[in-house]
């Protein structure tokens, strides 16, 4: 018998793909049905305190829009044409009954659209809980920190009202520990992709992260462990691709084909802002002491910079991208922003100016979750990859 690892990357990715295309969330439904009293709490992309849902004995379920597979029939009647796609496909998921098993929804304060969506949810689905998670833009522990702790405390109370049970500090600590494992594994995955992007295609990395949004974290940890083990046993051919960082996918999700197209055009994506919730914190969240304070501290002092967040220090504005380019030995940045996305599009000129001052090449285009035509993007990214090669060879 061949001495094969228990799981191949192909097996694992096939499972991820099945989870990704299942817009009925069967895995989460089955998880919930397996034991009485279990709750499932949805959250919109970007960030959500998943640890608290986990500590309440629940499954935090990432609701990342409908992608290009969902036909939006009802959702379009709720939004004007000049509003991005993700809120309408999220409404579609709700109206079409696909989220009927969800006990509550968390809406992070990412932008005005999601903010208003939280109120729409209250009006449209009054029996389902809706919790807006207001994130601080003041990063002083005594100010934004205290406020954030009170937000988290209220979120715990809200979750308790769904389960009928209080959430203990010990339970939160234990959940933080499991998510620390998850963060560590995701960081390892990112490191491996930056080191060997030919072995960890970004389309696979993306699917792995998406899978983590719809299955229990423990299962996801195992999945990541298996993938990391399997990927080390394989060598895929190395291509003469350009190394790029992608910026702009922090909320509305790109069609999978878009990521594949960028790769096919001759780019290795070595950093990105996909599914930020998986690595919102740059390192482990402390386990000793008050767990809510630890979560708040991690958010204030150790979390990702991203367009929807305020940067108090002008001198630091946009440097996170420059750092990422340096750390990951990237040769350029691709701004792929969602059409009609205020945070992304208002931020872009500032980031472009910073990159320019550091001599980092860049291109920009817009997409929507249902963008179908990849040819122009492939051409643009291809030309960019070629120009980087020419430029760096000169």
């Amino acid at each position: 018998m061949l001495d094969r690892p228990h799981h191949t990357t192909a097996d694992i990715i096939a499972r991820c793909e099945a989870l990704f295309s299942d817009l009925s969330f069967t895995a989460a439904r089955e998880w919930k049905a397996a034991e009485p009293g279990r709750i499932v709490v949805g959250f919109l992309p970007y960030y959500a305190p998943r640890e608290l849902v986990h500590a309440a004995g629940g499954l935090p379920l990432g609701i990342f829009g409908g992608g290009d597979q969902l036909e939006v029939i009802h959702g379009d009647a709720y939004y004007q044409s000049y509003i991005c796609r993700i809120p309408r496909s999220t409404i579609e998921l709700g109206v079409s009954g696909r989220l009927d098993f969800v006990d509550g929804m968390m809406f992070p304060s990412i932008c005005d659209v999601i903010r208003n969506l939280s109120g729409m949810w209250k009006l449209m689905f009054p029996s389902k809980g809706a919790r807006y998670i207001d994130l601080p833009h003041n990063f002083d522990d005594d100010l934004g920190g205290e406020f954030y702790v009170s937000e988290l405390r209220e979120t715990c109370e809200w979750l308790s009202s769904l389960t009928g049970k209080p959430i203990t500090s010990d339970a939160i600590r234990a959940s933080i520990a499991v998510f620390n494992d998850n963060r560590r594994l995701v960081r390892a995955l990112y490191q491996l992709r930056a080191d060997e992007p030919w072995n960890v295609p970004s389309s696979e990395l993306y699917l792995l992260l998406r899978a983590g949004m719809v299955i229990p974290v423990e299962e996801h940890n195992q999945m990541l462990t298996n993938y990391l083990a399997a990927v080390r046993l394989q060598q895929r051919p190395i291509k003469d691709n350009s190394r790029v960082v992608i910026c702009g996918m922090f909320c509305e999700q790109p069609p999978l084909n878009l990521i594949k197209s960028i790769e096919l055009s001759g780019c290795y994506i070595v950093d990105d802002d996909f599914i930020l919730v998986t690595r919102w914190e740059n390192s482990d969240v402390a386990l000793d002491g008050d767990p809510l304070r630890n979560l708040a501290r991690a958010d204030l002092h150790d979390s990702k910079s991203t367009p929807p967040k305020y940067e108090p220090d002008e001198a630091k504005k946009g440097l996170y991208l420059v750092d990422s380019v340096r750390k990951n030995r990237a040769e350029g940045v691709i701004f792929a922003m969602t059409s009609f996305c205020d945070p992304g599009l208002l931020e872009r000129p500032m980031l472009q100016a910073v990159l320019k001052s550091h001599g980092i090449p860049q291109i920009a285009f817009k997409y929507a979750e249902n963008s179908g035509q990849m040819q122009p993007i492939r051409e643009q990214a291809g030309t960019f990859a070629d120009s980087i090669k020419l430029w760096s060879g000169a």
């Binding site: 009647a77 709720y78 939004y79 004007q80 000049y82 509003i83 809120p87 809406f107 304060s109 932008c111 005005d112 659209v113 903010r115 208003n116 969506l117 939280s118 109120g119 729409m120 209250k122 009006l123 449209m124 919790r131 807006y132 207001d134 601080p136 833009h137 003041n138 002083d140 005594d142 100010l143 934004g144 205290e146 406020f147 009170s150 209220e154 367009p307 929807p308 305020y310 940067e311 108090p312 002008e314 504005k317 922003m337 059409s339 009609f340 996305c341 205020d342 945070p343 599009l345 208002l346 931020e347 872009r348 000129p349 500032m350 472009q352 100016a353 817009k366």
Partner: protein
């Protein structure tokens, strides 16, 4: 009432009532004060209309510059289209808020204010972050240009429709520990809480008369137009005058003017003179269009449509719901003011408000003017429309324009929609009569 009639040139000067003329003087004086602030050694603070802390800035002898108001003024003067395009040339997306682009384009073209004089660089950007995400990015963009300090003052969102003690405490602490010390340092003026109390007392006085004027629209016929005319009525209180004697005087004067109109059984003043017979009473949600303001308004008064209540006149504070600045709780009261601004209220609160307006002001229906570039207002408006229609049984309609980008104002489309809407109201009335 004094009617100031302009010279007989084309296009004809709009007819203004005395309060409008008075306000124009106030605004001009303010722009002149801004333009010459640096000569007089005055410091300038740029800040936003919703959540503007004018009384606090006055405690530091600072002059208040409001970029949205500049954009509006430029829109009314038909300057904004060029500015928006200038910003797009500089790399700004066609998708984002046109106020920002008008402001940035104006800056690129020498920052000439609406009075034709250059606006001074701000000494501080007071980022009062209420209810609109764009504010945050806007001031990050300006900060690069002006290289001045930016103070973030965050207002939590009223997601659950209530103000909590944690929210107030976060805001008061920000004021005490961050905003006030920074303003002291930048201005060189020591903070005096009694001075703030005095300004707040004056604010409350003006706010009383302001609310009285807005609520006068409950009369039939309504003596005011609470949207197109309302834009003028909110100017001093939402702008740089709250806390001043000027504002108190203005609202007293305005109130007297409106009292007189009621006594004479008159409807609102329009740019073409007194409005004819009141045929439709509307509630309007969303900001107006400024580049074609007069043309837009005319589409209403030509048909005898008067706006009796609007949400836009609540963007800088929901005073008609009882809030007043309170000298006895100065910092808490500033916090409550910010928390209550219209777009900081969640969607269910906004729907309740519109429903109440339809009932209280005996309106015939709801009209939504959806602004292409303003997600803060626009996302969710279609649901709001349906909800209000369902709850009140009154017809609603939806039009789409933009604030200060003339490319998105299609007069023919808007007119068509309005005409069908008025027909719808007629049919509904006929239906009722038929059923009776």
């Amino acid at each position: 009432m004094t009617v100031i009639v302009g010279p007989k040139t084309k296009p004809p000067e709009a007819i203004k009532d005395a309060s409008m003329a008075r306000q124009k003087q106030m605004v001009n004086a303010h722009y002149d004060r801004l333009a010459s602030a640096k000569e007089r050694g005055e410091k300038v603070a740029a800040t936003f209309v919703p959540g503007n802390l004018n009384e606090l800035l006055m405690c530091f002898d600072m002059v208040n510059n409001l970029p949205e108001v500049n954009a509006i003024q430029n829109g009314l003067r038909r300057q904004s289209g060029g500015y928006v395009m200038e910003a797009e040339k500089l790399g700004h997306s066609e998708d984002v808020c046109t106020y920002v682009k008008s402001d940035i384009g104006m800056m690129a073209k020498g920052n000439i204010g609406p009075n034709g004089k250059p606006l001074p660089d701000p000494d501080v950007l007071l980022l009062s972050y209420t209810g609109c995400f764009t504010f945050m990015k806007w001031f990050e963009l300006l900060r690069r240009q002006y290289k001045c300090e930016t103070i973030m003052f965050q207002t939590p969102y009223l997601a659950d429709g209530r103000i909590t003690t944690d929210m107030i405490s976060y805001m008061v602490k920000q004021l005490r520990q961050d905003v006030i010390p920074k303003l002291e340092r930048i201005s060189g003026v020591k903070f005096d809480i009694d001075r703030l109390r005095e300004y707040l007392r004056k604010s409350a006085k003006a706010e009383d008369d302001h609310v009285w004027v807005l609520q006068s629209a409950k009369h039939k016929p309504s003596p005011i137009d609470a949207y197109f005319g309302g834009i003028y009525y909110i100017g001093p209180i939402f702008g740089a005058f709250r806390g001043t004697d000027d504002a108190i005087e203005y609202y007293k004067f305005l109130r007297a003017e409106v009292e007189q109109r009621i006594a004479q059984g008159k409807g609102p003043v329009t740019p073409d003179g007194n409005m004819g017979q009141e045929r439709y009473r509307l509630v309007v949600e969303g900001p107006p269009n400024y580049t074609n303001f007069r043309q837009f308004w005319k589409m209403f008064y030509d048909e005898g449509a008067v706006v009796v209540a609007s949400s836009y006149t609540k963007v800088g504070g929901t005073y008609d719901y009882g809030f007043r600045h309170d000298p006895d709780r100065p910092l808490e009261s500033l916090a409550e003011y910010c928390l209550n601004v219209y777009t900081n209220r969640n969607l269910p609160m906004r729907v309740d408000m519109l429903e109440n307006y339809i009932n209280e002001y005996q309106a015939d229906g709801l009209l939504i003017n959806s602004i292409k570039s303003c997600n803060s207002f626009s996302a969710g408006q279609l649901l709001m429309m349906r909800e209000v229609e369902k709850r009140t049984g009154k017809p609603a309609a939806f039009i789409e324009t933009d604030l200060v980008d003339p490319r998105y104002f299609s007069a023919a489309n808007v007119k068509n929609r309005l005409e069908s809407y008025f027909q719808m109201i007629e049919q509904k009335r006929a239906g009722f009569r038929g059923a009776a």
